[in-house]
């Protein structure tokens, strides 16, 4: 578990200009999850992820990882040890151009000690695992962007880290390659029981892989939760705009609709996805339900926006809630 408590980080541009890149960040990142951090440019996402391995030291607050109370207080050697327990991948891949794929991947071990035969075996296994079979002796400039990021991922995993930090790992890639790289990260997360922290400005990336999301705005986390909850119940204006971008525009729809009656948002838990609750409800209660919007979350929960007659809402609401549907007024 990674915990941040009241973390602050300020950059002093000049004597008079200071940028509060992190402005009271408190956040918990659970083990074995893919935790997305999204926000507009300049929101402080990169600064946040870089404090986790102390590429950036925070000014105030505590960051606890691996049972250390505050990683800022570790000495140099312990900080290096901490970093070796975390892999990091970058937007621009940051491969060593003068080294082959194999040597790039082995490099994090090489900086610590002499290589053993077993290290080579391990590197070849990882090369196969990330889909680069046959590329061990290629140089980075001979690879495509997607392949380069695969090397980056392999290199980040060579030390068996428990945490994988990703700062915009797919922002330099096309949509299809992005999808493949995200799928790879997801698979490797399961295989190696990783905790993944993933910074992105693309809501599609969040939707594709993240279990949990934190929305950053002006150095502050303004909203945090499971992807399904964020999609169903975004509260911050930025979050509302972000979820619209991936087809969850019910807030817009709700605002535009000017039918009489009541507009409600419904969330159907997973186990209800196969049921025909709405039509049963209409038949049983003899009411009218107008469906304005419907979509399915990444965890296959249904989200729906309905419009019911004012006098019938007192029947509809209790009925659906009894079936296990979560309801909120829109």
């Amino acid at each position: 578990m990674i915990t941040l408590k009241h973390v602050y980080k300020q950059f002093d541009i000049s004597k008079k200009r200071h940028i509060k890149a992190l402005n009271d960040v408190s956040l918990t990142i659970q083990d074995n999850t893919i935790h997305g951090i999204i926000g507009l440019s300049g929101a402080g996402k990169s600064t946040l992820i870089r404090t986790l391995n102390q590429l950036e030291t925070h000014d105030e607050g505590e960051i606890s990882v691996f049972g250390y109370q505050d990683i800022k207080r570790l000495n140099k050697e312990s900080t290096r040890m901490l970093r070796r327990r975390m892999g990091m991948i970058f937007q621009s891949f940051n491969l060593l151009e003068s080294k082959t794929v194999l040597n790039n991947i082995l490099f994090p071990i090489r900086v610590q000690r002499k290589l053993h035969q077993a290290d080579y075996q391990k590197a070849y296994d990882i090369i196969n695992d990330v889909g680069l079979k046959g590329y061990a002796s290629s140089y980075p400039h001979q690879l495509s962007g997607g392949q380069k990021q695969r090397v980056g991922i392999a290199r980040a995993l060579i030390n068996d880290p428990e945490i994988l930090l990703c700062d915009e790992p797919t922002s330099a890639l096309d949509p299809l390659t992005t999808k493949q790289i995200l799928a790879l990260i997801k698979r490797l997360k399961h295989k190696h029981h990783l905790t993944v922290v993933l910074v992105t400005h693309d809501m599609h990336v969040i939707k594709a892989v993240c279990d949990e999301v934190t929305v950053m705005h002006e150095g502050m986390p303004v909203e945090s939760g499971t992807i399904d909850n964020i999609l169903f119940n975004p509260t911050h204006p930025i979050t509302k705009e972000l979820v619209q971008l991936i087809g969850f525009n019910m807030h817009d729809v709700a605002k535009k609709i000017n039918k009489p009656g009541l507009v409600m948002s419904l969330k159907f838990p997973k186990h209800l996805t196969g049921e025909s609750l709405i039509s049963t409800c209409i038949n049983k209660l003899d009411v009218e339900i107008n469906i304005l919007f419907a979509n399915v979350t990444p965890n296959t929960e249904g989200i729906m926006l309905i419009n019911v007659n004012g006098s019938e809402q007192n029947q509809v609401k209790p009925y659906l809630e009894k079936q296990g549907v979560v309801i909120k007024d829109a």
């Binding site: 070796r84 060593l96 003068s98 900086v111 140089y139």
Partner: protein
Amino acid sequence: MHDFDMYFKAFNETVYMTLISTIITFVFGLVLGVLLYVTSAKGLKPNKQVYAFLSAITSIGRSIPFLILIVLLLPFTRFIIGTILGPSAALPALIIGAIPFYARLVELALLEKGKTLSETGVSFGATNTTIITRIMIPESKASLIRGITVTSIAIVGYTSIAGAIGAGGLGNLAYLYGYARNRQDVTIIATLLIIALILLIQLIGDLIVKRFTPN
């Protein structure tokens, strides 16, 4: 003395001065350049005072005209070489003139990919020494070699200035015969030999870059 022997001797002297100076400049320029990079604002361990000091020496060293540098260094040269005449006596001035030149090129080369590369190393848990010696320098090999090639060519130019005041070499020949004895043909041949030497250095530099970079 036959003309051929004369050219041969002068050519050898120029090659000797250039080679020794280039080798020593490479070592010390690299060290100074790395220190400049490390302490610069965007370096691994920024240190304003140290950087300002190193940077000032480097800039001053680069801005003293070479002819004046030779004269300034005369006592020093006499002290460590024992004479102020001949190719060896030119070495201190050549080296001291070239080190700041190369050091700046090294600093620029390292800064070019500096931030991303050093952070990558830091994220692996590498020490600063490892980052410099195993990441920054190897990744900047091509620029560092191109830099020493340019420096070496500049040194050839300096040797001709040094030659004019008694260091020997092709510069000396061109000056002595062409200017003092009005033998244009010697000046032209000496110039052609200097050009040939410069082209050779460039060629060797390019070959080394090719040999050491994957492509």
